[in-house]
Each structure stands twice: as structure tokens, then as C-alpha cells.
């Protein structure tokens, strides 16, 4: 009986000394990549009708404004090489507008022009998505926003009407 008791104690202790080692594979670290989803505010515009009228109340059909952008190195980390510009348009003016982005390099040479974005009179929250590769944008240092007002009914500058452009740059930052 004593021997049986001793053997039982030893067996129980032995069970606790055996551990299961789970299979692990450290080589998986070679496959590890991170991609942070980014949606970052880009350019925004809020202009009223007076922008499209000169000092003599004559219509100006084409207005532009531009800015340097120095984020091209940042864009080189785009996952799958895809960079998307999403533009949200709201127009309470009684005219149609065509909006385009023009991309220029450091020598002020035009690199490319985005697709034209058309917005009807009195339209809200119209969305345009345009995707580019890093190769298309890698030499870009300046962006010009061009707004063309299409022919239509005369502007009524006394009314509070405006054109609003909001935009973001979307990409997955990979590293």
C-alpha cells in the first residue's frame, strides 16, 4: 500500500512536469507588413458669387488658385501604389461649374490634369473619386485648382450663394 501511495505521488508529480510546447514559426516575421489607413484633408474652397465678377460686375468665367505641396515622399509609401483624391462639391449658385486639379512639377511644367468634375446649379454633396499611382505624382510639387463657370443665367451677387469644395487624399500608408 505504501509503495502504491508513493508511486501515485510520483506519477502525479510527473504529470505536472510534462508541458506541451505549442508549434510556433518565427519565419512569419518576414511576411509582416503594416498599412495604416489615412484619409487626410487636402484643399478646401468656399467662394461666393463675387469671385466670378470683376470690379465692373463683368463675369469672370475662369478662376484659379494654387499651392505648393511637399508630401510626395509621404505618398511613396502608398500601399499597392494607389493614392485617391476624393472631392466633395456643393453649389448653391445658379450656374454650372467645372472643377479640375492641375499638377505641376518644380520647373512649373504641367504634369497632368485630373478628370473634370461637373456640378450642376443648386447641387449638394456631389462626390468625385480619382485614383493615381505614385509614378504619376512623384514629380508634382504644386497643385492648381481651376474653376470654370459655364454659361447660364446671370449671376445675382446680392444673393448669398456659394460654391464649396472639400477634398481628402486617401491611401494606406505601408511600412
Amino acid at each position: 500500500m505504501t509503495r502504491l501511495k508513493s508511486a501515485s505521488v510520483l506519477l502525479i508529480l510527473l504529470i505536472f512536469t510534462v508541458s506541451c510546447i505549442k508549434d510556433i514559426d518565427f519565419d512569419q516575421i518576414d511576411d509582416l507588413t503594416f498599412a495604416t489607413p489615412l484619409s487626410v484633408s487636402f484643399v478646401y474652397v468656399e467662394v461666393d458669387q463675387s469671385v466670378f465678377l470683376d470690379a465692373n460686375n463683368q463675369e469672370i468665367s475662369h478662376v484659379i488658385d494654387e499651392s505648393d505641396i511637399q508630401i510626395i515622399d509621404f505618398l511613396s509609401h502608398a500601399e499597392d501604389n494607389v493614392i485617391t483624391i476624393v472631392t466633395y462639391l456643393t453649389n448653391t449658385i445658379d450656374r454650372e461649374f467645372v472643377i479640375e486639379y492641375e499638377f505641376y512639377d518644380a520647373q512649373n511644367q504641367l504634369v497632368m490634369i485630373s478628370d473634370s468634375m461637373l456640378i450642376q446649379p443648386n447641387s449638394t454633396n456631389l462626390t468625385y473619386e480619382m485614383s493615381y499611382t505614385y509614378a504619376q505624382l512623384e514629380n508634382v510639387t504644386r497643385v492648381r485648382t481651376s474653376i470654370r463657370m459655364l454659361p447660364g443665367v446671370p449671376l445675382r451677387p446680392l444673393l448669398d450663394r456659394n460654391l464649396s469644395i472639400d477634398s481628402t487624399i486617401n491611401m494606406n500608408y505601408e511600412y
Binding site: T17, V18, D23, T36, S39, F42, V63, D166
Partner: protein, 362 residues
């Protein structure tokens, strides 16, 4: 059970124990009887020999630990992509979790009994330490980016410290009486490098914008990083001989102390405690510290379409950022505290085994 029976079966058990282990664990030298290395855990421990000389050289000790995450959580050999496993593990962790790495290589340790009651020991070892609490919020930022509107990604209370140093030590163990031993060990540190960051605060956020789709911002950011022996213009000169020189007293200097006691209540009960690496390192070589302080927010570039007043929008954005967020670098010396370790221990030996111990002590 007789002692002879216990010894026989204990030996068999030990054989099975050693056969069943397929991974290495750090040998816990605390209270590891008769092992000179136990003096490094508690300078008051009894050493039975009159003289010892140990030259481990290649005797590395390694401790790697984390709370809230296991290696298997990330590296399990299954079909789940590692990115998914890592993300799930990170989201399971909390701000209270931490990571720890400690490597110690003892080169030489000599001990000598000065008299019946006093034991002197001295030696040298190299140590590499890393500690970091888990930056949960900022880790989630890596996965979520700017997609979570109104969420605050904070760096509050994030801290880490890493250093590598050589330690020259000399210790005294004093046998007060049959019940009490006390001990102390003086340490002279020679630091190869140090990097630390603490008392950080602030957060990054994305909210819905008033003028554009989003407003992105840094709020009440106060982030610092102190380094010594880490940042150079080039690293061609960094070699094993360079590191050895730094380890051997040409690096940053520091002082530390270990204190310990052992109390033999009776033949069965032993209580001991120690505090080790109560010390400080004075970082004066190749120091570079960085700090970022301030608030900033932007909704992108707001075009005005005013040809009479052209605006350099990007320059304005940069100026606004530089005025709002102060980035500074300096080379001011700083102090870093060694990671203090507190050990407490209690042991009760059953009577028959204790008689064996009694004969050994006398």
C-alpha cells in the same frame, strides 16, 4: 517516508524533469544553494566555500518577458496571417501591460572568506536592459490611422528605458549571528549607451472639420527622448572593441548599491530579502535629447481665389506648424536610474530534510 527513499525517488524525478524540458529557462539563482551567482541576487547569502573563482565568460543569462501577450499569440504556426494575429493580440493588451528584456553576461566573479563571519566577493559583468510599458493608444493609431473620427490617441504616461553597461562590483557578506546575515554590494557602472523617455503626454486626433472634411490635430503634446551613446553622424567606428572599451570604464559613469538580509528563524524557516541596483547613471558622453511640445491643428489648404492678394499657402502651413509646435534638441547631460529589483523570499524546509541542512551548516 525515509530520507533514503526520498533521495532515490527525487533523483528519478529530477532525471524526468531534465528530460521533459525542451526549452531553456533562466536559472533563478536566488537562493540557489552554494552557487556564487546567488550573491548577485542577495549579497547576504551564505557561501559555503572559503574561496571561489568563477569565470563564466560565455555564461549568458537572458530574461524576456511581457504581460498581456505571448509569443504563441503572434507566431502560432497556423493559417491565420501574422498581421491579423498581431492585431488581435495588440487589441487584447491594456495600458498596464509591459515588455522586459534583460541580458547579463558575467565575466568573472571571485569570492574569499576574510574571517569566520565575513565574506568578500568582487567581479565584473555586462548587462543589457530594456523596459517599456505598452503604448496601447498609439498602437491602435497604427491600425486605425485617421479613420476613427473623434477618437483620441494618447501618449500619456508612455515610458521606456534601454541601456547597456559594464558593472564592476565588490560586496561584503556579514554573518551577524546564527540567525542573521546581512550584505551589501557596491557597483560601479560604465555605460555604453542609454535611451529613455518618460513623463510623456498629449494626443493625436481627427475630428470632423468645419471648413474641410476633417480637422487633424496634435493636442497638449509634450514628448521627450533622451539618448546617450546612441546617435552619431555615422556608425563606422562602432565595433566590438569600441563596445568593450565603453564597458570597461570609458563609458558613462554611475554608482549603485545592493543591500540584502537573510534571517534563519529556526532550522525550518528562512526569510530573506534584497534590493538590487539601487543606482544611478550619469549620462555625459554623446548626449542628445529631443523634445516636442505644443498644439496644432489643420483642415488642409484653404484656397481664397483672391488674385490681388496671392498667398503662399504651404509656407503659411509650415509657419503655423513651427510656431505651434516647438521641436528642440540639446546636449544637456542627464541622469538615468537603474531598474531597481526588489526580492523577497521565504522558505520552509520539512524536518527531515532540514536535519540534512543542519549538518551542512555546522
Amino acid at each position: 517516508m525515509s530520507i533514503r527513499f526520498l533521495n532515490y525517488h527525487s533523483s528519478i524525478l529530477l532525471v524526468f524533469l531534465s528530460l521533459s524540458l525542451s526549452a531553456q529557462n533562466l536559472i533563478n539563482t536566488y537562493d540557489f544553494a552554494n552557487l556564487p551567482q546567488s550573491l548577485l541576487s542577495n549579497p547576504s547569502y551564505d557561501v559555503s566555500s572559503d574561496l571561489f573563482i568563477t569565470v563564466p565568460v560565455t555564461g549568458n543569462q537572458l530574461v524576456v518577458g511581457s504581460s498581456g501577450i505571448e509569443l504563441y499569440d503572434v507566431f502560432a504556426d497556423n493559417t491565420i496571417p501574422i498581421e491579423q494575429k498581431l492585431k488581435e493580440a495588440i487589441y487584447e493588451m491594456s495600458v498596464k501591460d509591459a515588455f522586459l528584456f534583460n541580458q547579463k553576461n558575467e565575466l568573472i566573479h571571485i569570492g574569499y572568506k576574510l574571517d569566520r563571519k565575513t565574506f568578500l566577493s568582487f567581479g565584473f559583468y555586462e548587462e543589457l536592459d530594456f523596459y517599456s510599458n505598452f503604448p496601447k493608444s498609439m498602437s491602435e493609431l497604427f491600425y486605425e490611422g485617421t479613420t476613427q473620427v473623434s477618437k483620441r490617441y494618447t501618449i500619456d504616461n508612455y515610458a521606456f528605458q534601454a541601456d547597456m553597461l559594464g558593472v564592476f562590483h565588490v560586496g561584503i557578506q556579514k554573518h551577524i549571528d546564527d540567525s542573521w546575515n546581512i550584505g551589501a554590494r557596491l557597483k560601479l557602472y560604465s555605460g555604453v549607451f542609454n535611451a529613455k523617455s518618460s513623463n510623456n503626454s498629449g494626443y493625436v486626433y481627427t475630428d470632423l472639420g468645419a471648413d474641410n472634411v476633417y480637422r487633424h490635430g496634435l493636442s497638449t503634446v509634450d514628448v521627450n527622448l533622451q539618448t546617450s551613446g546612441v546617435i552619431y553622424d555615422d556608425y563606422d567606428f562602432v565595433s566590438s572593441s569600441y563596445i568593450l572599451k565603453k564597458l570597461a570604464l570609458s563609458g558613462n559613469k554611475g554608482l549603485g548599491i545592493d543591500l540584502g538580509f537573510t534571517y534563519y528563524h529556526d532550522y525550518n524557516l528562512t526569510v530573506s530579502g534584497s534590493i538590487t541596483d539601487l543606482g544611478v547613471l550619469f549620462n555625459t558622453h554623446d548626449v542628445q535629447t529631443f523634445q516636442v511640445l505644443g498644439n496644432f491643428q489643420t483642415e488642409g489648404i484653404g484656397l481664397e481665389f483672391d488674385p490681388d492678394n496671392p498667398v503662399d499657402y504651404w509656407e503659411n502651413l509650415e509657419d503655423d506648424f513651427n510656431q505651434s509646435v516647438d521641436y528642440s534638441e540639446d546636449e544637456n547631460n542627464y541622469i538615468s536610474w537603474r531598474p531597481i529589483q526588489l526580492n523577497t523570499f521565504a522558505k520552509y524546509s520539512f524536518e527531515k530534510i532540514c536535519r540534512l541542512q543542519l549538518s551542512w551548516r555546522s
